[in-house]
């Protein structure tokens, strides 16, 4: 038998999924020891750029179908491996010491001098936030007050640190802010594209291992980890 170097399979995940993915990897490794998995978390747009330029990603977890479509166009996805994993909601949070907005339109209030959202060009959460702002026709008033985070975790960080007075993050992120953010209203899901997390296997060396892990994620064990972290179930096909 030829000894083989066990290469790790690389999982590239949207930042908002980082915590449940860490837990899932731990659970998976407990069940199937010997399978090496590595994880990288970044804004979905960043991951797409990396994959487009040939990064050795084996499993891509995106916070939006738009990014997944971009990767699909490169022809690097394995046919039939693409599936929906979970859903999420957007929430407005305010920094500590400030009363959160009563409604989305309340963001116009002058007490919110700086509002943080993800960069709409590269961060799905930012794109969703941008869509909501335009749907509510607030773009003219709020535009000057917007600051962009390079990923949704950074958006939360700005609010935690007080650099931004309010921010739009995922519902699953609110707990991470702890006592440093004040949760506000959940945003009406009809105001933006549905927040659907998708997973797909990228052609490469770690395909077999990635498949095994994806099976686990979509099994009841995997889905329960996602639910425990506050994610909604995948939409019915």
């Amino acid at each position: 038998m030829i000894a083989a170097v066990v290469l790790a399979a690389l999982i590239a995940t949207a930042v908002s999924l980082k915590k449940p993915m860490d837990e899932a990897i731990a659970a998976f490794s407990a069940k199937v020891p010997g399978e090496k998995l590595e994880i990288e978390a970044a804004a979905s747009g960043v991951i797409v750029s990396q994959v487009e330029h040939g990064a050795p990603v084996d499993l891509f977890l995106s916070a939006s179908p738009v990014e997944m479509d971009r990767v699909a166009r490169t022809g690097r996805l394995i046919e039939g491996s693409r599936r929906a994993l979970a859903t999420n909601r957007l929430v407005i949070v305010a920094r500590k010491g400030l009363a959160p907005p009563a409604s989305f339109d309340d963001l116009m209030d002058p007490r919110f001098k700086r509002i943080a959202i993800g960069n709409p060009k590269t961060v799905p959460a930012g794109r969703y936030a941008d869509q909501t702002i335009r749907k509510e026709e607030l773009i003219g008033t709020i535009e000057r007050r917007l600051v962009f985070g390079e990923n949704v975790r950074q958006v939360l960080d700005y609010v935690v640190r007080g650099e931004a007075d309010a921010g739009i993050v995922y519902a699953t992120d609110v707990k991470l802010g702890g006592g440093d953010v004040v949760p506000g209203p959940t945003i009406d899901a009809t105001l933006h594209d549905p927040v659907i997390y998708e997973a797909a296997i990228v052609k490469g060396e770690g395909t077999a291992r990635a498949e095994a892990f994806l099976e686990f994620l979509t099994s009841p064990a995997g889905l329960s980890i996602l639910a425990a972290n506050g994610f909604g179930p995948p939409p019915a096909p």
Partner: protein, 208 residues
């Protein structure tokens, strides 16, 4: 996007370079004139931004200047771009100035004083002209560094198109969004300006 980034970058680089020129000349001269205990420690501190990762410096600036620190209204404004560019390029000017003043023959300043020149007159009429080559090179390098500043700018100023998105940040975003045409154009612009600056430095070094 390209025009806005170019215009912002040039303005930021000019303002930052002016600030850095004044500050760097003064600190470089101060450290060159007199040896004192702890001089190299001070020099190391002043040169830190040169060796620290730009993101570390940017983060430190954010914590220091933002709401969690001094609470100044700097983050996410073009002032933040200037601060980031200035802090990152300052060590270059300081170094160049220190060397330029250290190479000055001290007999010139002694002679000027013996001829009755006040310290101010000696500085402007004798020291500065004699140090001008080294200072000019420092200014050119600082400008180039300020123009190309990325990491600290990203952290302190954010990447807001039209407001704080400088040329390097625009390149970053264009590459991320797959807009290769824009990315290439921006890269050519930045490279062109940098080459022009280096040629200028070389010419200054050769003249007179």
């Amino acid at each position: 996007m390209i025009a806005a980034a170019l215009s912002l970058s040039v303005q930021v680089a000019i303002v930052a370079t002016i600030l850095v020129t004044i500050a760097g000349t003064l600190t470089g001269r101060a450290l060159a004139r007199r040896a004192f205990r702890g001089r190299e420690v001070v020099d190391t501190l002043l040169t830190l931004p040169l060796v620290l990762p730009p993101t570390v410096t940017g983060y430190a600036l954010l914590v220091l200047l933002g709401r969690s620190g001094l609470g100044l209204p700097i983050p996410f404004t073009w002032v933040a771009c200037v601060v980031a560019a200035a802090v990152m390029s300052f060590p270059l000017m300081h170094r160049a100035a220190r060397v330029a003043f250290e190479e000055l023959d001290p007999r010139h300043t002694l002679t000027a004083a013996s001829l009755g020149a006040t310290r101010l007159r000696s500085f402007f009429a004798v020291e500065l002209p004699l140090a001008r080559r080294g200072l000019a090179a420092g200014i050119a390098l600082s400008f180039a560094r300020g123009l190309g500043e990325f990491g600290a700018t990203l952290l302190l100023a954010g990447n807001i198109p039209g407001r704080t998105q400088t040329l390097p940040l625009a390149v970053y975003e264009a590459s991320l969004t797959g807009d290769d045409r824009a990315a290439l154009l921006l890269c050519l612009l930045l490279t062109g300006v940098s080459i022009a600056v280096l040629l200028l430095v070389a010419r200054i070094g050769r003249s007179r």
